[in-house]
Subunit: 697 residues, 2 copies
């Protein structure tokens, strides 16, 4: 029976994808592919994947493909538990034959052919691609297709024609504010490969750290990194690792601001007097390079030259964001220079700086990428604008002839739910009205993992699984945008990502164990029940609500650091309440599920409180726990009132809403996610909406 | 309040440990130490562990200690989430000062001083040890002391005087039947260090694989390993890694039997005609070395010489177990030799072989270790017997003047609960009656992880946490033997062990995810509910109940491979039922908990069945799921009958017990652990034991 159902679903999927309608919840695809391919046509039956499975490359081949083949086989063995031959075969009779037409560019270019066609029949599978890039994407799609079935592991018969919507699909990791070890970056590159992202933007310098070894100017990393930096060999290895996965590496050295760490060893670059120390706090700080000093440009010429030889990518990111100008204002020499050269304000001074640096970057054979601020009058048209300001800014740049990538809306550190990132489209808003030519200047987007509040321990959980939704936004057709479908697939893909070594799911339990110490299993379960329904405060409120000024040495061992940025339990409870209210509260099965959940919440605090007495880190969330208990009590009261089939009194409603308002306030920098859903139940109990007598069962 | 309670508990602990009474559940120590130290005296208050924490070595120092210090600081940072200075300090004013008297032996010896004294006060901590071995043990004890508290992380004020009961506390890993990658072995060495085990016995050759590189005889590993072997450099690195953790590495090359893999490249060593292939099945096989061939001894002389130079330990394990003699019987040349030399049977022939090999081992400066079989008349007294046969065999050896280590009772692959291993004492049975001198010949024991049914993926979960209970048996005073205390501490230590990189807890969820494919969260929860209460069949019944003959290529991706070898939920349910019946069924709180658990089980099957339709690996446990559901129904019926306060009818009881008998049968090679507890409820309902009227609440 399940198989028939699956075939019916597949039929729906073809419609969904090939005609690009918006999918509804009822039409969730049975294929757990993320990103969804451009075109999927289902066949009948499935290809068995057992220990006889083999794969071979035909046509063009190269060591990178062989390695991708071995990685594919290892991953397939891991996700099935089968004893597979772990080397690609040489036989054209292999179960899975991958034909590649020709090499890709020696240095991966923006807009290279990444397309592939994947044919799975009941007898074999065949993947065709122009270049290794497409072949590697197709291998990932095949891995996602393989799942357990009634008869063994198998991949459904299907024909997939796929190519990306945008050529630039990136993840930025800030390994400057908190140093991120290479093994953590590597596993995130594995995750990027799995969801077909192709740009790793490496934010390498900041006020808080200079993380790349410079042999020309060793004081940069020696004085500016607390000995936490990447050697040039390590950087080269990481670039090779990324290239093996079809991923470009774009380095960012942020200037003229965000650069305190440079000045610890090289105060002569700064506009202030110094001496400088590595910054330990977060925020925007005064130190900035001196745009009026020829020594600075000589230094940057040498430095950019050195880095340009290490990083082969054609693009080089110079940052350029958030200069407050205070050091410039305070420096008489700079003021005199501005007067002498008719530079009328700090913005113009920065434009002058950007222009000079841009020439240096060009001289060393690279194209500049910079944040919005670098786009000022007269900047050459070949630079790429990375927009943290939004689609309007991006569209404006495109109109002026600049290429751009969107990051506004994709800041992973803001703690938005996946659906909110997913709804952000580089081509929406002002961009939707661009001409075809202008639209082509919008190259794609990048998610950004700024690192004030991430540690090597929890960074995976701040990136994943939400980053997979952004990856889909940048790869799949624009019309693929149903959040219910996205969440259903995300859940599956999220579990698969942990097989690559990512720890986004597991780490939460580890960190809660640390908080819980020698908790009993019941106490630990209660802590998890609470942790399951809270999320860290959003946007930039973490600074504002911090108990003490946070620094780079602040321990990240609190509940706010341990819980995922998006609560699955909270989201599902909200959906359940919506469903219940939509049924005019007449669905006994849903009501029973709500009651069970609310009862567990109500009773949770009593179990957790003794643990809060023993652990200061649990104590911190004692108020959240009481709020959750109150939510349970109120939700149950609302269901009782609804069951009476008469609107509850205004007084009751007012009392409940007072408690709701209290529960809405962040505590311990955490939000209690089910609050709005319980509020809906209270309002449903108080209005006539749910007051009709129930049908007798 | 919690603090006072803790102090009272500490008081009890001192009594427990210093007077060695058997601890009862009510006297569980508040200190989660495993193994429990020889002597613990609690002080008042605790030492705060915050980001100012520092540690320094005074007295004797060496690079190994510095590395141990760095490892300690990294681990402390990991388990607290604090930003600590990660290098040992040079200041005698450090929070934690470790004073070591002198170096340990260049090659670690059996019976070296491993003692330490650890003093923790509210102001500082001090560790004193004769040698780095004791210092390293003390560091591990300190790590176990640090926990979350009401005011932050802290270690309780305490004075611990500690030393091991036995000098030989080992874990044997068989990386021959299934190859175990070095990274997996390394993390298990980390686990051994945490629980103060000091011998890694490395089973390197078997019928199924020859895993050590030989430069003298490269065909051994080239033909005998499927390219899965350790290079000599890797072996040297692993030995250094172990020495860094106070662990000796004893290699085992099993001969004359268990040696098919040698013969693939070197058939001339065998007693049969050959050719030989790597064995893929499990069991005892015919191939054996030819004890009558001088070429064999010449070969072994060279081979043992080569290995003796790589493995510095004073001991060298030659296996010697389970020769069936069939190749000897079938070889006329061997038969003629036996006649000519008056060797009267195969046992005598093996004794002759062992004697010759023992001389070779001695020639290369090592002492022989062998399984029981090597102990035959005339064998020199300096060999060490590893007993898989039991304490009687060990005691007999000791009486004859041989040293021995116990492994019978410590076979981790048999799937026993931790408490059963824990109850096995090397000094019990016949050994208890030995003289003091004879007793000293019993050096300790080794847990054994035979690898027919382990993969690199799940091997951690087959070793841990149960191995920690064996480690305690071998370290702590004989009188420390309360299983309730052991389980309480084991639960804590088990969680801590995962911080070292061990995956024994996490892997089960991963493997169940694989089985479950795209299960809904409710279905997956139902699968976990079932998985939580089943255990693989015990002892050697896995072979007997296998659906098809298992080989080394059989996938280990089934539920039987995914679930832990001991069910915590099952054990706790059993305890709860015992508690309920002991209360004459008059404890309403316990009854409510039992009802909740039984109801969940009863309803679980309905949720799981749809998943069983979609996954062949879940389908395999459909009958177990139905049994669990039946257990729930029966248990609830028993509670209902008990509530009526009249003995249930004989007919009812007979009907239930028929179902119980059915549920006791292994299915899919799994046992349903709560069966006996539910049977107790049924019997309680049917007898008068629980039929007295309940007191009114």
């Amino acid at each position: 029976m399940a198989q028939n159902a699956r075939l019916r679903c597949l039929g729906i999927l073809i419609l969904c994808v090939s005609l690009y309608p918006v999918m509804t919840t009822a039409q969730q695809p049975a294929l757990n592919l993320m990103p969804l391919p451009a075109n999927v046509q289902s066949g009948a039956g499935s290809l068995k994947v057992d220990s006889t499975f083999s794969m071979a490359f035909t046509g063009y081949n190269e060591p990178r493909l062989e390695r991708a083949g071995e990685r594919f086989l290892r991953q397939l063995a891991r996700q099935t538990g089968l004893s597979l031959a772990l080397k690609p075969s040489k036989s054209a009779k292999a179960t899975f034959v991958i034909q590649t037409d020709h090499a890709s560019k020696e240095i991966q270019e923006v807009g290279e052919d990444e397309s592939y066609i994947l044919d799975v029949s009941t007898a074999s599978a065949r993947l065709r691609a122009s270049t290794p890039l497409g072949a590697m994407h197709g291998l990932q799609t095949f891995l996602q297709l393989v799942d357990v079935s009634p008869d063994g592991f198998s991949a459904p018969a299907v024909t997939i024609q796929d190519k990306p919507r945008f050529p630039w699909r990136g993840l930025m990791m800030d390994s400057a504010r908190h140093f991120i070890p290479l093994e953590v970056i590597r596993r995130n590159l594995d995750g990027m490969e799995a969801v077909k992202m192709n740009v790793f933007h490496w934010h390498l310098s900041e006020n808080q750290g200079f993380r790349a070894e410079s042999k020309k100017f060793p004081k940069l990393h020696e004085s500016g990194s607390d000995a936490l930096y990447y050697t040039q060999d390590e950087i080269r290895e990481l670039i090779a690792y990324a290239r093996d996965r079809g991923i470009r590496v774009v380095p960012e050295f942020d200037m003229p601001g965000h650069s305190t760490a440079w000045f610890v060893g090289h105060p002569e670059l700064a506009s202030g007097k110094g001496p400088y120390e590595i910054e330990r706090r977060w925020g925007i700080f005064d130190p900035a390079m001196d745009p009026t000093s020829e020594k600075v440009y000589k230094f940057l010429d040498d430095f950019i030259g050195e880095m340009a030889r290490i990083f082969p990518d054609h693009y080089f990111h110079i940052g350029g964001d958030e200069v407050n100008g205070k050091e410039w204002d305070a420096n008489p020499k700079i003021q005199a220079y501005m007067k002498a050269h008719e530079i009328k304000n700090n913005q113009a001074l920065q434009a002058y700086f950007s222009g000079r640096v841009q020439k240096l970057v060009t001289k060393h054979g690279k194209t500049v990428v910079g944040w919005d601020e670098v786009l000022v009058e007269g900047v050459p048209k070949d630079i790429v604008i990375q927009s943290w300001r939004g689609q309007a800014s991006l569209a404006q740049a495109a109109k002026q002839g600049y290429r751009g990538i969107l990051s506004n809306g994709y800041y992973l550190d803001l703690g938005w739910p996946a659906a909110r990132h997913y709804a952000v489209d580089p081509m929406s808003g002002d961009a939707a009205n661009l001409s075809t030519e202008e639209k082509q200047r919008i190259l794609g987007g990048e998610s950004c993992m700024w690192a004030e509040y991430v540690s090597p321990e929890n960074v995976d959980s701040r990136i994943w699984p939400r980053n997979a939704a952004i990856a889909e936004r940048l790869w799949s057709p624009q019309e693929v945008r149903d959040p219910a479908s996205m969440y259903a697939r995300l859940d599956f893909v999220s579990a698969r990502l942990e097989w690559l070594g990512l720890t986004h799911r597991t780490v939460s339990r580890y960190m809660l164990q640390r908080l819980a110490g020698s908790a009993s299993s019941a106490e630990f379960a209660a802590l998890r029940t609470l942790a399951d329904v809270v999320e860290p405060v959003k946007d930039y409120t973490r600074e504002q609500t911090a108990p003490a000024e946070p620094t780079s040495a602040t321990p990240m061992n609190r509940v706010v650091d341990a819980v995922p940025l998006e609560s699955d339990v909270g989201r599902r409870f909200g959906e359940l309440v919506d469903q219940f209210v939509a049924s005019a509260c007449h669905d006994p099965a849903t009501e029973a599920r709500l009651r069970a959940q609310l009862t567990a919440w109500r009773d949770n605090d009593a179990i957790l409180q003794p643990l809060a007495e023993r652990s200061f880190l649990v104590k911190e969330v004692a108020a959240n726990s009481r709020d959750l208990s109150a939510l349970g009590t109120m939700g149950l009261a609302a269901l009782d009132a609804i069951a009476k089939a008469q609107p509850a009194s205004d007084l009751w409603k007012a009392q409940q809403l007072t408690i709701i308002e209290q529960a809405k306030k962040p505590k311990a920098q955490l939000l209690l996610i089910p609050v709005p859903a319980v509020q809906k139940l209270i309002e449903a109990a108080a209005t006539g909406a749910c007051s009709a007598p129930k049908p007798q069962a």
